[in-house]
């Protein structure tokens, strides 16, 4: 899992990579690996944007803005908010499907989101190491090209399962409006509503899981920045360039 193919020159033959490189800089030559392919990065940012739109518009669907003055025919505020929500929902769902497809055709890092190796003892041990790192009990974190095991669990539980839940319940609620016979009603509403008992509980759960995902976003942003500073690899820039750079060349 941790086999790192270095693209940069090895330490034995240090080359001046930049004109202002000091001896100290050279001693810790940066190595990098291409992790996140373009579709993965694109999906990440489209997904982030659609979650933002979905959460804001979704909140205002549950707790609408103050009443609009004037004739009903002159206003369509709730309609526009719902339109934005549904459009972002379609983008979110399409993105998820494309991302799932990419898990098959992309590199092996693209599969991490969908298949945490829960059957591997070593992986669980590293989960523990990561927890210890975040509890300030570990002095030095491990290096990972992809997600660290703890991050992988979080991604799977919050994003993979969370998105799936939101897509299924979201289209079930959407299908209520598009009426029996529409694709959303046939594919989702027809079984999701009876599964929960009635529509009201589907709304409540859809709302709760929005918070579930928002809490993940908070943790995700914090941890990404913290890791970028404190861990041994790049995090934030990796989701822009796709390159994971390492701050040291130690083997583990």
């Amino acid at each position: 899992m941790n086999v790192i193919e270095t693209k940069a020159p090895s330490l034995e033959t240090p080359i001046a990579l930049a004109g202002d490189m000091s001896a100290e800089d050279r001693a810790a030559t940066v190595t990098s690996v291409y992790v996140y392919e373009a579709p993965v990065r694109l999906w990440h940012w489209i997904n982030a944007a659609s979650i933002l739109v979905l959460a804001v518009t979704g909140y205002f669907i549950g707790s609408p803005l103050p009443t609009q003055p004037g004739e009903a025919s002159a206003n369509f505020l709730m309609g526009y908010i719902r339109f934005a929500h549904f459009t972002a929902g379609y983008i979110f769902a399409t993105g998820f499907v494309v991302r799932f497809y990419w898990a098959f055709v992309g590199n092996h890092h693209a599969r991490q989101l969908f298949a945490p190796p829960v059957w591997r003892g070593q992986w669980w041990k590293e989960v523990l190491t990561e927890i210890r790192w975040y509890a300030f009990l570990e002095k030095r974190p491990k290096k990972y090209v992809g997600h660290n095991p703890l991050a992988q669990i979080a991604m799977f539980v919050f994003i993979t399962l969370g998105s799936l839940f939101m897509i299924v319940t979201g289209f079930a609620l959407y299908g209520e409006g598009t009426q029996p016979g529409s694709w959303a009603n046939v594919l989702f509403t027809s079984w999701v509503i009876p599964l929960f008992g009635q529509s009201q509980d589907v709304h409540t759960w859809h709302h709760l899981v929005m918070w579930w995902i928002l809490i993940f976003v908070m943790i995700h942003v914090y941890v990404a920045i913290r890791e970028d500073i404190m861990s041994r690899q790049s995090i934030v820039s990796t989701m822009i360039s796709g390159e994971r750079t390492f701050k040291d060349s130690d083997p583990d």
């Binding site: 803005l65 709730m78 975040y134 002095k139 009426q179 009635q198 529509s199 009201q200 701050k247």
Partner: protein
Amino acid sequence: MQATETFYDVMRRQGVTRRSFLKFCSLTATALGLGPAFVPKIAHAMETKPRTPVIWVHGLECTCCSESFIRSAHPLVKDVVLSMISLDYDDTLMAAAGHQAEAALEDTIRRYKGNYILAVEGNPPLNEDGMYCIVGGKPFVDQLRHAAKDAKAIISWGSCASHGCVQAARPNPTRATPVHQVITDKPIIKVPGCPPIAEVMTGVITYMLTFDRIPELDRTGRPKMFYSQRIHDKCYRRPHFDAGQFVEAFDDEGARRGYCLYKVGCKGPTTYNACSTVRWNEGTSFPIQAGHGCIGCSEDGFWDKGSWYARLTDINQFGVEANADKIGMTAAIGVGGAIAAHAAVSALKRAQVKNNGSSRAPDLEV
């Protein structure tokens, strides 16, 4: 009891002219949403089919379903009771009482074995062997099982029989249980509502008698023709919802202007019923038209979802009354606090490491 007559025989005997009979048939077709081609079919069915016996039993209930039923205008309930069905047992409506009534029940079950429709209003409580509801000296659940054994189909009238309703609301001390959880081997048509709309009740019965089959049901067992759309979808205040014009309080300008009741807890967007199309009392009005939000009485568990005047409903699993936003917001604030604390500790730790002499801190021993 004489030999079974057809519907038409009975109507003619009661002085209904053929012209009135045909008018009744076309009105019924319209009420059921059927095209003109179905009028002769209905007429033919009523001329040839024997009247279907109906046994109407009452469990834990408030009798509002019966009250609603007898107010049906299209078709008039008098037509349904006197002409269309042979209501052989209904302890609330029948003239007989006591032993006579019970004898009529037994007689119908015996004579029309496998051919009668069992209409259940209310539901059986199962705690204490069903002792919380006694009919004719025996637990209601026994009467229900007995009458259901030879029934052709069962109609669950109202939210009590369909979902449990108020007597099954938390904590449900009598263990009131909807009919479909007690009788599992018969086709059950759920007609929820507290009460159901009169025209929906008579419409379901008319459909079953006319076509000799149960109406098409959705996955939860409700007739699709009356329960496939939400109140919200056909609400006459819907334009105000789309415009974002809401009643904020019951005495505000929005209330006077007839704006959408969403923010004062209307459950129209989550309630499947025909109120906004059929309306009540001969199409006079319905709750939203009267200025009050829908309380979602035809939805499962509507008593247990918190206030009828709040859009976001309560979640009771946490032991406190809180809606999704309160829970989510509390969790987000908690997590935010934890992140801030964690960030502070991280910064301190890092500063500590830096002071110990390296700019490439984390990989070096402190």
